[in-house]
């Protein structure tokens, strides 16, 4: 976003004036206040009415806090558990134990890389079968010991490649879903950035599904939808709007349970504040879930997913046209 650079510039200027103010002893407080007001005004203008495509870009923003950042800020003592016990360890989907306000929880976390080197290791946050098998292992661990399960979702999707298909990535997603469906502990999933299709959903079948304010969750990337349906890669912006993939739209459709607020301009503008909001919401949702008897929790999870879908009984006349010849 080029407007974002203007904001950054303004922020730098204000910071410079502040230092000048402090060091030189010149009273610039009026000027600073004026500039800050202008900055706030610009921020409002730029961020208050983001369109869907701008949200997509914000959800993928390279400065956005990633799962490991939240693990640091929200949880204590992340103790990573690695490997699928068969072929390897996926670095795009992490699993482990941690504490939330002192109590043990199991974490599943999708992690993108910051540097080229890191992205090579983490496959740009796209989990492979090794990751989904590891997820299943961690879900079962949570179930055995009654640890609540928390998923942090942030992936463009499962990694598309020969090796992934050879290892039946589709089935590993199905089995992760199956484990999530059946685990008898409270489960909360949070989309912290990009919720990309089956690779995201694999760890997203939960009692409570939250999204950060500028996160997205979609059946396909806007670019993918543009190329398949519009037959035009440049229509990603239109596809983003049509897919209704933003947090507020999905809340409106009743497909997610809550939105964790982000500072104006996105989580990266104030990661600590975002993390603190996330922590409060996680703690509150977990308290609610734990106060619910296990049987009822299972029944609610079942009802939640069993009723997803929008359809109606067709008027009896449709379609009465005779069958056309086969293609």
């Amino acid at each position: 976003m080029s407007d974002e650079r203007t904001l950054d510039l303004l922020e730098t200027k204000i910071e410079e004036l502040r230092q000048l103010n402090a060091v030189e002893g010149i009273d610039l407080s009026k000027e600073i206040a004026k500039l800050e007001e202008k900055l706030q005004h610009l921020r409002q203008k730029l961020y208050a009415n983001l369109n869907d495509w701008e949200r997509v870009k914000l959800a993928r923003h390279p400065k956005r806090p990633y799962a490991l950042d939240y693990l640091e800020m929200v949880f204590e003592g992340f103790y990573e558990l690695r490997g699928d016990r068969v072929t390897g360890d996926d670095r795009a989907l992490l699993a482990g134990l941690a504490r939330l306000d002192g109590r043990p929880v199991v974490i599943l976390a999708q992690q993108k890389g910051r540097t080229t080197e890191e992205n090579k290791e983490r496959f740009f946050g796209m989990p492979r079968p090794q990751g989904f098998r590891k997820a299943r292992r961690a879900i079962e661990l949570a179930g055995r010991f009654g640890f609540p399960l928390i998923s942090l979702i942030d992936t463009p999707g499962a990694y598309p490649g020969l090796e992934a298909e050879e290892q039946n990535v589709g089935a590993t997603i199905a089995e992760s879903l199956q484990a999530m469906a059946g685990v008898r502990v409270p489960t909360v999933a949070v989309v912290i950035g990009e919720g990309g299709s089956g690779g995201a959903l694999a760890i997203g079948l939960a009692d409570c599904v939250l999204m950060l304010e500028n996160a997205i969750f979609s059946v396909i990337t806007p670019e993918g939808a543009a190329s398949i349906l519009w037959k035009d890669k440049d229509k990603a912006k239109d596809a983003a709007a049509a897919l209704q993939l933003t947090a507020d739209r999905l809340l409106g459709l009743g497909l997610v349970d809550g939105i964790v607020p982000e500072p104006l301009g996105g989580a990266h503008k104030d990661p600590i504040k975002t993390a603190s909001a996330l922590k409060d919401e996680l703690a509150r949702r977990l308290r609610e879930l734990e106060a619910t008897p296990a049987e009822e929790r299972a029944a609610r999870r079942y009802a939640r997913y069993r009723t997803i879908g929008r359809f109606h009984v067709a008027p009896p006349s449709v379609p009465e046209t005779p069958p056309e010849p086969r293609m």
Binding site: W230, G309, P319, R326, M327
Partner: protein
């Protein structure tokens, strides 16, 4: 030249009624064959054995005992919950698919017997927007499993789907979760689920219900996988083997139990189902 294309069942006209031409040319072997013989032969070319697409009804007829099928497909249609439109409104695509197939969505479910063994059967129809899974297909798959539980029948699902229906956005993606959570109930009830994978069983369907059968049977000529050849090549430009995602590829890698010819599928299902009669 793309081998992907070659693996597809050929799309040809096999009309129910006699029309201007009683003969068709098989695109695989080039032979002129009598259309009715093709139809009577499960849409397999009588000359070279090439498989052509089966409609859901033709598939059902090829599997169940004659006269045993009772259609349980309620007349429900999607609400188009997103009001989706690309170059064409979703409602129009739906209408066209409905007119073409005489179906309201891409699946038919019902009860019947296969060599006298009672089953609830779900069969996808690829002609309907690529057999894609949206609200309606997800709902029918769940109702089929619930009928199987209520009537203590086995569940057989014949997949022919490109995956989730993009036009229903997250409602489609979440049908994966919905079918998986109901599949658990079927397992808890101790009822067998046989998943039959045909051309194609891919995307969100392969990554959910289709892969969770107690037994996975692929029809010869099937395509089984999550991400398609084109997606992989566009994303990471990787060279893929010729038989990528074919039934042989899947069998060699331990992804499916068995590969069966179309004309033997009925026999095969009866054989498999027979082991579960009286179990539990």
């Amino acid at each position: 030249m793309s081998l992907f294309k070659e693996r597809q069942y050929l799309r040809i006209r096999v009309d129910r009624e006699a029309d201007d031409s009683l003969w068709m040319k098989c695109k695989s072997c080039g032979e002129l064959v009598f259309k009715r013989r093709v139809r009577e032969n499960n849409n397999v070319c009588p000359n070279c054995g090439e498989y052509f697409f089966l409609t859901a009804q033709e598939r059902i007829d090829s599997l169940v005992d004659p006269g045993s099928f009772e259609n349980l497909t309620e007349p429900i249609v999607t609400d188009d919950p997103l009001g989706f439109a690309d170059n064409q409104p979703y409602t129009q695509r739906l209408r066209e698919a409905q007119e073409k197939t005489s179906l309201l969505d891409a699946i038919v479910i019902g009860r019947g017997t296969i060599q006298s063994l009672p089953v609830v059967l779900g069969v996808m129809d690829f002609r309907f927007i690529g057999g894609s899974m949206g609200s309606v297909m997800g709902e029918h798959i769940c109702r089929a499993m619930e009928a199987a539980i209520a009537e203590r029948r086995a569940f057989v699902l014949v997949s022919s789907s490109g995956g989730a229906r993009i036009q229903e956005g997250m409602f489609s993606l979440l049908q994966m979760a919905k079918t998986v959570i109901v599949r658990r109930r079927l397992a808890e009830a101790g009822l067998p689920f046989i998943s039959v994978m045909t051309y194609p069983t891919s995307g969100g369907v392969q990554a959910s219900i289709a892969s969770l059968g107690d037994i996975l049977i692929a029809e010869k000529g099937a395509l089984i996988g999550f991400a398609g050849r084109r997606v992989i090549q566009q994303t990471i430009s990787q060279d893929l083997p010729e038989h990528f995602q074919t039934e042989t590829f899947a069998l060699e890698r331990g992804q499916i139990d068995r590969v069966v010819r179309r004309e033997e599928l009925r026999e095969e299902l009866a054989l498999a189902l027979g082991f579960f009669v009286g179990a539990r």
